[in-house]
Amino acid sequence: MSSEPTTPPTEPELKPDLHSQDPYAVLGLTHEANERQIKRAYFTLVRTYSPETEPAAFKKMRAAYEQLRHTDTKKETDLSLFQPPLPWTPRKRLGRLYLSLQPDDLLDYLALSSELNQADFPKDYRPIQL
């Protein structure tokens, strides 16, 4: 139910999104990641975002890891995640394009330079006598 459209990234491709509310995204993972991948991603990222140098980022990653490290909490977390769209299957039949110049288009173009393209005609207003 929670499969991502793309395959999970390999370790060097990990791109943590520290602003995301999705713990998988925080660890740079897809929703298909298993326990081993989660653990590996966390410990890889901890080297970059250590508690000493990047305390805020570390805190965020730690919280994400806590949500995913145990089977039961992971299941609850999975249940609270928005489901990504399935990969799009391209349309079998494309729609038609009408690309030849139509006489109506030419007339519409010519009308642009006539009074047909004018919205108001204050010069045509006449006074009334009552």
Binding site: M1, S3, P5, T6, S20, Q21, D22, A25, K75, E76, L79, S80, L81, F82, Q83, P84, P85, L86, W88, P90, R91, K92, R93, L94, G95, R96, L97, Y98, L99, S100, L101, Q102, P103, D104, D105, L106, L107, D108, Y109, L110, A111, L112, S113, S114, E115, L116, N117, A119, D120, F121, D124, Y125, R126, I128, Q129, L130
Partner: protein, 742 residues
């Protein structure tokens, strides 16, 4: 017979008034109002001036309309009112032309062509209308009114195939495109696009060429430029939609979901085009997903709920809607939506969105929790039972069901469910604790209460279980206080000692034991408990306060004064707030002389401007004896003298009088209070006065009969019962249930 002074009111405006009012509206540019007023004048058409004014009104009104249809409608009215006026005919022709009603436009234009003044204006639109209906312009009298350039253009447009020979870059570009020399065409049209006059058609053609070369982004750009410059080609919406679809699909293939989503507003699928419609819904689903991931739940909800939810691939949509309802705190809607998700789940195990039994159960549980949180207990129970069916061995889930059943008052069903849990796991501590809690809350706190066996079993499994020990301790404290009046006090002490055995460090229990000794006048025994506590270096404020109350009730003023000093030294108390309860305790004995000392101290300690007399008066009325009420009344009068919230003071003076059985004075005080409260617009106080009249005005004898001599000495349950009778059941009653003081 008296003459009627007032003339009957005029119901209708006169024709002169209507003319004048219409003219005023017309002069202010309110043409809709003007024509509406003039239309109400009887026989409008008889007066030529009025008829001309009305025509001009409709004429001007037509030019304020954005919708071509309405513009045409009002132009028709103007022309009908002045059929011989060529100007109105000309504008009727323009309005019809814009609606693509070419025959009507031609008829109107032709009527004007003979007018020398208007002929030059009408010629070109008439020629265009004739060309649009494929009629020969050259053979029409309009031909002679056209310029040479217009004649050439129209002649070439009417030829098939269209092959312009004009030499401007635009027409050369168009000609090149017609001959499929697209690179040449593009270069010439690009040049023409810099000329504002030629730019609309140049952009349209450039868009068409780009689309032929599958340069979708360029095509979209040029077409949007053409539209921006006023061109509305017939095929453009469909082309724009299709090209946007193709670009969106290309971006999706590249994994650029955000880029694809950015095109969703350009999609304008024909209802019959299944592919485009599916893609449009897919992009909106993605748009909602991106919004939700960024925490913009309101936008996500708005997008997702606008999508059609039918069809096989909609489980994810239903799921996300349920989640976003939860995020937006729409819990009932969320619960209903979770059930929708479950109804819609694929039943085949190999489906990518198939749910296993545990997931089904978890979703049912989630729906039930949402129902539970909005107190829809019947629905919650029904859904919890479904969840249990899917995961019958999940004891935490069954325990949730117990909670819900109990909340819904289904005690037997809750206990049966506890039994089912214990059948599966006899040592399940949460179930044992819950079973004890249910029995404790539904049976009197006496020694045969089944709650005890549940908690004792927990202690047999885990002897130091803090919650079980606390529950047992609280149970025996409640039991002791319940027995206070109905059983020998020795039994209460025995129960409190049992409570203390489960919470040996709880000094409150020790003080409660001392309290019983005070009640039985066994002062040495009481002091034997209290004095060691007072020797302790650190004791909680609440414990000391309780000891103080006992010392005052036992009239042990020296010890009480020493304790007051200790409290004042060690705790940051507001002195005037601290002294008033001391005075209350003294009046309960009653020792007015001692109480008075503390009240004077309270007045002296109050900050300047603080309504201390009112506060004292209100507090002392709570003490249920005449002495206290007399002191309270005195302080309330002082409050009046110092102008401390007079309306509220009158309310409490009324209560004091009512409690003394002086109903007449009470009613008089309340009348004054109500008058003052109305004058101040104090609705809250008015409601309080009404409640006071209900509680104290109508039933003095009932109250006298029910009021025990000393409510402070009552066990909590009994005291609660009195509080409920006296006010707790009334909306916004006087007594706060959490407040231990009466």
């Amino acid at each position: 017979m008296k003459r009627r002074k007032n003339k009957p009111k005029r119901t209708d405006q006169s024709a002169a008034d209507l003319r004048r009012n219409g003219l005023r509206a017309f002069q202010q540019g309110q043409y809709a109002a003007a024509v509406q007023i003039w239309e109400r004048i009887p026989n409008t058409l008889v007066d030529p001036r009025l008829q001309a004014a009305l025509a001009e009104g409709y004429f001007r009104l037509s030019h304020t309309q954005k919708e071509p249809q309405q513009r045409y409608q009002f132009s028709q009215k103007a022309a009908a009112l002045q059929p011989g006026d060529p100007l109105y005919q000309y504008h009727l022709g323009l309005a019809a032309h814009k609606q693509k009603l070419y025959p009507e436009a031609i008829t109107a234009y032709e009527k004007v062509l003979t007018n020398q003044t208007l002929a030059p204006r009408v010629a070109y639109p008439l020629a265009l209308a004739l060309a649009a209906t494929a009629k020969s312009v050259k053979n029409h009298p309009v031909w002679q009114h056209l310029t040479a350039e217009q004649q050439l253009l129209l002649e070439q447009i009417q030829k098939r195939p269209f092959a312009p020979t004009l030499t401007t870059p635009l027409w050369q570009g168009v000609a090149a495109a017609q001959e499929e020399r697209y690179p040449d065409a593009a270069a010439l049209l690009q040049q023409a696009s810099h000329n504002s006059h030629e730019a609309p058609l140049a952009h349209l053609m450039l868009g068409n060429i780009a689309a032929r070369q599958e340069a979708w982004e360029q095509a979209i750009h040029h077409w949007q430029e053409a539209v921006k410059r006023g061109l509305r080609p017939q095929n453009l919406p469909a082309n724009l939609s299709e090209v946007s679809c193709r670009l969106a699909e290309a971006r999706l293939q590249q994994g650029n979901v955000e880029g694809a989503v950015g095109l969703s507003s350009l999609l304008n699928p024909n209802p019959g085009d299944k592919g485009q419609n599916e893609l449009s819904e897919y992009l909106l689903f993605c748009k909602g997903y991106l919004a939700a991931r960024q925490g913009n739940f309101a936008q996500a909800q708005q997008i997702w709920t606008s999508l059609p939810q039918g069809g096989g691939g909609s489980l994810r949509l239903a799921y996300n809607i349920a989640l976003v309802y939860e995020k937006n705190d729409l819990l009932y809607e969320a619960a209903e939506q979770w059930r929708e998700v479950l109804r819609r789940r694929p039943r085949k195990a190999d489906h990518p969105d198939a749910l296993n039994n545990e997931q089904v159960s978890r979703l049912y549980r989630r729906a039930a929790q949402a129902y539970n949180r909005v107190e829809e207990y019947d629905k919650a129970i029904q859904v919890y039972k479904n969840a249990v069916k899917w995961e019958s061995e999940n004891l935490a889930l069954r325990l949730d069901l117990v909670d819900c059943l109990f909340e819904n008052g289904q005690v037997s069903a809750a206990l049966n469910e506890i039994d089912r849990i214990l059948d599966r796991s006899p040592d399940h501590i949460p179930a044992l604790l819950k079973g004890g809690e249910i029995h404790a809350q539904t049976n009197p706190p006496w020694e045969h209460n089944p709650a005890l066996s549940y908690w004792e079993k927990v202690l047999a499994i885990a002897p130091d279980h803090a919650q079980a020990r606390q529950q047992l301790s609280l149970f025996w404290q409640d039991a002791a206080e319940s027995n206070y009046f109905w059983a020998p006090l020795a039994l209460s002490i025995e129960m409190l000692q049992k409570a203390a055995a489960y919470a040996p460090n709880d000094l409150n229990i020790q003080v409660k034991i001392a309290e019983v000794y005070f009640a039985t006048k066994e002062i040495p025994k009481a002091l034997a408990i209290i004095e060691p506590i007072l020797q302790m270096p650190q004791v909680e404020f609440k414990v000391l306060e309780r000891i103080l109350s006992n010392l005052l009730h036992g009239q042990l003023f020296d010890q009480a004064n020493a304790l007051i000093n200790r409290i004042e030294t060690n705790f940051p108390v507001e002195r005037y707030q601290f002294y008033i309860p001391i005075a209350q305790n003294c009046l309960e004995i009653p020792r007015e002389d001692v109480a008075e000392t503390w009240l004077e101290k309270a007045v002296a300690a109050a900050p300047p401007g603080f309504p201390i007399y009112l506060l004292i008066g209100k507090a002392l009325i709570e003490v249920n004896n005449e002495t206290a009420r007399s002191v309270a009344t005195r302080y309330l009068h002082l409050a009046l003298k110092h102008n401390q919230a007079p309306a509220e003071v009158r309310l409490y003076l009324g209560i004091a009088a009512a409690k003394n059985g002086d109903r007449k004075s009470a009613e008089q005080e309340w009348r004054t209070a109500r008058k003052l409260a109305r004058r101040n617009g104090d609705q809250a106080l008015l409601a309080q006065i009404q409640r006071a009249e209900l509680m104290f005005g109508g039933l003095p004898s009932f109250l006298d009969g029910m009021m025990p001599p000393d409510l402070h000495s009552m066990p909590p349950q009994l005291r609660q019962m009195f509080m409920n009778i006296l006010g707790g059941h009334l909306p916004g009653g006087f007594f706060d249930e959490d407040d231990d003081e009466f």
